[in-house]
Symmetry: C2
Amino acid sequence: MSLTVVGSIAYDTVRTPFGARERMLGGAATHFALAASFFDQVRPVGPVGDDFTDEDLAILATRGTSTDDVERVAGGKTFFWEGEYGWDLNSRETIDTQLNVFETFQPKLSAAARASDVLFLANIQPQLQLDVLEACDGPRFTAMDSMNLWIDIARDDLVKVIERVDCVILNDAELRQLTEKPNLVSAAREVLAWGPSVVVAKQGEYGAALVTPTGFFALPAYPLETVVDPTGAGDSFAGGFVGWLAQNTAGSPTDEALRLAMAYGTAIASYNVEELGTDRVARLTIDEVNERVAEIQALTQFSLEVSV
Amino acid sequence: MSLTVVGSIAYDTVRTPFGARERMLGGAATHFALAASFFDQVRPVGPVGDDFTDEDLAILATRGTSTDDVERVAGGKTFFWEGEYGWDLNSRETIDTQLNVFETFQPKLSAAARASDVLFLANIQPQLQLDVLEACDGPRFTAMDSMNLWIDIARDDLVKVIERVDCVILNDAELRQLTEKPNLVSAAREVLAWGPSVVVAKQGEYGAALVTPTGFFALPAYPLETVVDPTGAGDSFAGGFVGWLAQNTAGSPTDEALRLAMAYGTAIASYNVEELGTDRVARLTIDEVNERVAEIQALTQFSLEVSV
């Protein structure tokens, strides 16, 4: 069994009020893989350039992740993103985006990647997400992310992707924009009507909500006093969520399983933001993850019978 | 036992994409009283003008609320607010604010109001909140709200009020502004260091978080497909929260009690926004409230042991 993720492997330059670093390893597929590698063998599919170091490839390979489908583009340069966060980390400005090898990226999946039983389509052009879906041998569970840019310029393709996946993971603002429904519950139900059986609305510092045909669930973010770098939090969440499902479910996941998977995603995302880039999750242990999942449960439970 | 609330009793003109009405009953003390009246005898303290109708006074008196401390100012006009909400109800614009009788308001508490065992200081000028604290006979539990305006122009007085209350209920943005700490947990802990034992951070459509010296708890808002009018949601929350504590706790509330009180506040606030103004909560029943509290519990719980 394995989990294929198609998306960006990048170099990021990040400045936040609590830390900054030039050209460190980043990208959606990277953050996803580091989180999901606790649960399954992960196969990231994405291009890098000549500038991509063996050291960074080794970080990507943490916990047994296969880098066989990382495509080295001769003469190319790795995708680069530079961003700066505002004082409360809730706003960020993109300073620079250089697509580089990503500009002409055409996913080429190895036989092993095509045969993965679980597939995550990170935020890339919807047409490429469709190509990957065509190439794969019918994974039992497929999930996807996207962004406002594709809703603006490639909505028809994006809807075609959504119609073919089991699970959509988007920010709540993106769900509203996509469906043109201002109400989050209505927006999620609209997406469910297009085909998927699971919608996850990421809500940044407020956590995430889960909507299925049979239920609603919401989980706050883990409360941290020190957040250093929010970059990749959403992808770490998706990696923990999809990874846990890959390891612990067989057919369609039950609502009960999806809820616990949300807690694993939330726990790993909370570690991700504690340090710059991939530092914290690269050295994270499953015991630390389990411990935080239990803490998250403790801080969301209440009793209807209170003795006073 | 009784619960005194000092704050605005108003006429609101509200326009949302899902409904609109001119000059309907509103105001912080009104929404608070309607919510808290499920649990205790409430005594709103606030001024109204000659234009305030007996019909609206009767709504304020729902479920036994005493209107003895509603001050009728001869020749005066009731506080008026007009606002318009954006398409997803998360942004609102104030079109008009007429302080009217509120401009020269000096709280005059009856002996019964002064003797209340629980006190809520709704969002009014901090100096008036201090006057009320001075006038009261040492209530066993005091809670307060405020707003960005007072942080801007009367921060010193506001901090004096905070130092003297048990519980601070503010929006998370206000907590950050007040403490100049961008991180919500740090901001809440700073406020706890000033004296209170309970901080509630209201988070609008995302729910609310509770921070005490011994714990953290977060509760999502109840997921509604139809939200008509968010006006007064925060005050309905506060009314349900403080009201439940007034009825069900004796000394300092335990974390367990505070959590269940949060669920009651959340439940009543969710009903409040289903219709314009006070319509829904005025005819709400405690059975409906209890039912929604149980639903909120169901949609926030997850198990660490999942059978797949």
